[in-house]
């Protein structure tokens, strides 16, 4: 939406240029002097530039206007093709969708209308600036203004009009054939037979004179004056039009589409997690890609379920997809109880094997464990030497103090990916199946709590 700013400027300029004196007489006549509404239109348009789709009641509230008054002006704008409106019947729930959308838009106005939960259907009206149309409308308007003045100026392509001073009946040059009289050289009114006078000019119509040269010249000057004045006063507007010309027009789409999109965007920003518990289990790791999709299609529930499945399946797969939080979880568990169990499992085992081992761990003997320890250590060192560069080795050294306790797990790990160093991280990967299957959500929380991010990165790099 970065390109919206020039368009907003265009709207503001147009509002000041063309709608400054609104609302017009119709209203002012009825209640003269009671309130001066001039400029109201500008205020409303300005307010709309700061919003996207907005419910008209909310807008009225924000602007401290009477709804009727606002509606009248909006209707006028709709006729002027500046805004699009949408009316729909909705329950309180429908309103909530809208509110959520509003909350999601970056510059949306928070208006707490959540309160009234009537189940009755109300017709709500929404309005929104239609930028592409505004651009066209303004351009067309300017074109017409210029054309009219220019035509008038060189009297080109204008149909002369005649007016009867007696009965104010109007004729055009197309009626000329009926108006000529056989007796003199003037046109005569059909009804009162008065002599018609040419309505010398529509724009500068002070002198309804007989169109003598003086009058004509004066008129020409006036028109020229008007034209130049218009050119210079509307220059900013035209400049803005030129600036906006090549920019992509911001489109909000219709109301429904906009709501969906706004909600989706809100989710992507992270607001969504707070609202939807089902999403929480996903954690940050999955945040990026699936969210927008979810937002648009509204299939969140199904999707999240699917995720859950994937999670459970993951451990058996040798790929690196293992979610980080699971690693965390596994590590904690193993420290407490399962070190022995893991030791049994050798490098050859995949994660599936590890899962099995989890079940068995309690039955494992200490003796075997010791033997395994020795073997594992030797094997591990050999692997390390062979494959690791110095950085890796250094890491390993750091970890080595812990190794007495945890070596077994590392071994299990290694079977999966020989490439990786014997970081704690690796064996953590293996661990998840053991503990995590029971309750993934908890795992997630733990992951969030602990600062696992660094290790994850390393692991992924490898």
């Amino acid at each position: 939406m970065s390109s919206i700013e020039p368009f907003n400027r265009l709207v503001k300029l147009a509002a000041r240029a063309f709608y400054d004196d609104l609302p017009t007489k119709g209203e002012n006549q009825t209640k003269t002097g009671r309130s001066d509404n001039r400029g109201l239109a500008v205020v409303i348009l300005d307010a709309l530039t700061r919003r996207q789709w907005v419910r008209e009641e909310d807008l009225a509230k924000d602007l401290k206007l009477h709804t009727k008054q606002l509606r009248r002006t909006l209707r006028f704008f709709e006729e002027e093709k500046l805004i699009t409106r949408d009316h729909r019947k909705e329950t309180a729930k429908g309103a909530k969708i809208y509110n959520a959308a509003v909350a999601a838009t970056a510059d949306g106005q928070q208006n707490g209308r959540d309160g009234d939960d009537k189940l009755k259907l109300h017709t709500h009206s929404y309005c929104c600036l239609d930028y592409s149309q505004i651009y066209d409308v303004v351009r067309y308007r300017l074109h017409r203004m210029k054309k009219k003045l220019k035509d008038e100026l060189d009297s080109k392509n204008t149909v002369q009009e005649y007016i009867c001073p007696g009965c104010n009946k109007r004729y055009t040059a197309l009626d000329a054939l009926r108006l000529i009289s056989p007796y003199d050289e003037y046109f005569h009114c059909e009804s009162c037979n008065g002599v018609l006078v040419a309505e010398s000019d529509k724009l500068a119509a002070q002198e309804l004179g007989d169109g003598d040269d003086n009058a004509r010249r004066r008129r020409q000057e006036k028109l020229k004056d008007m034209l130049t004045k218009m050119e210079e006063q509307l220059k900013p507007l035209m400049d803005q039009l030129g600036r906006v010309k090549d920019l992509p027009v911001p489109e909000f789409g219709n109301l429904q589409a906009w709501e969906l999109r706004a909600n989706a965007a809100g989710r992507a920003n992270g607001d969504y997690n707070a609202n939807d518990p089902s999403k929480n289990s996903q954690g940050l790791g999955f945040g990026g890609t699936p969210m927008p999709y979810l937002g648009e299609t509204k299939v969140e529930v199904a999707f999240s379920d699917e995720k859950g499945d994937i999670k459970s399946v993951n451990p058996s797969a040798p790929t690196k997809v293992l979610p980080p939080w699971m690693i965390r979880e596994g590590m904690n568990l193993t420290k407490e109880q399962r070190g022995e169990a893991k030791s049994e499992e050798t490098k050859s085992d995949l994660k599936t094997a590890l899962e099995l081992s989890d079940d068995k761990k309690s039955t494992v003997n200490d003796d075997t464990k010791n033997i395994q320890d020795e073997y594992v250590k030797a094997y591990y060192a050999a692997l390390l030497l062979r494959q690791r560069e110095k950085e890796e080795t250094s890491k390993k050294e750091e970890e080595s103090p812990n190794k007495e306790v945890s070596t077994e797990r590392q071994v299990g790990e290694k079977s999966k990916r020989d490439d990786f160093e014997g970081d704690d991280v690796e064996w953590e990967d293996a661990a998840p199946p053991t503990g995590s299957t029971s309750d993934p959500i908890d795992l997630n929380k733990e992951a969030a709590a602990s600062d696992s991010s660094d290790e994850e990165d390393i692991w992924e790099d490898g």
Binding site: Q160, A173, L174, A176, I180, Y186, R216
Partner: protein, 177 residues
């Protein structure tokens, strides 16, 4: 603008024409009836150029008249906005002048006459430039641009302008009588 089109018309023929030259009679009557008329839809029918077909005649009860549906080719003239035509001035007055381009009447109001031409009343009312070199009066031929048309069912009326490049008098009756 001229068009060559096919039109259809139901012709009523008196029984006295029934005979060897029925067809000729039919055509000559068609020409008499149709040529020079104006329809808002097609414009002025200038001339009939041929007969496409003559349908089966239908004898009217009571009168003996026979109705033939006749399809005929004809040339029509229809003025359009923006078209340039040449016309003969028929009347000049203070409000402007009238001209005819064939069957079409065109009015040019005085504000569509170039500013340097002034109306001169008198025996022969005319519009003349200040140096007198150009004069528009009755019988002058002018080239003008049609800027508006009024099309009724049976009548077409135009207004024109000579206030543009290459428009105005093309032959002056006063200059070479």
């Amino acid at each position: 603008m001229f068009f060559h089109i096919v039109l259809e018309r139901n012709m009523q023929l008196h029984p006295r024409h029934f005979g060897r030259d029925l067809r000729d009679k039919l055509v000559s009557k068609l020409m008499k009836d149709v040529e020079g008329t104006c329809s808002g839809r097609h414009g002025f029918i200038v001339a009939i150029t041929g007969i496409e077909s003559v349908g089966k005649g239908l004898i009217r009860d009571g009168t003996g008249f026979v109705t033939f549906p006749v399809k005929y080719q004809c040339v029509v003239f229809r003025p359009f906005k923006g078209e340039i035509v040449e016309a003969v001035v028929t009347m000049v007055n203070k409000m402007g002048f009238f001209a005819e381009a064939g069957p079409v009447q065109i009015f040019v109001s005085n504000h569509l006459i170039p500013d340097d031409m002034e109306f001169q009343s008198g025996d022969v009312p005319n519009y003349t430039t200040s140096d007198g070199s150009v004069k528009i009066q009755k019988e002058s031929e002018v080239r003008l641009k049609i800027i508006g048309t009024r099309v009724d069912a049976t009548e077409i009326f135009c207004i024109g302008t000579i206030k543009d490049d290459f428009l105005g008098v093309i032959s002056d009756p006063g200059a070479n009588p």
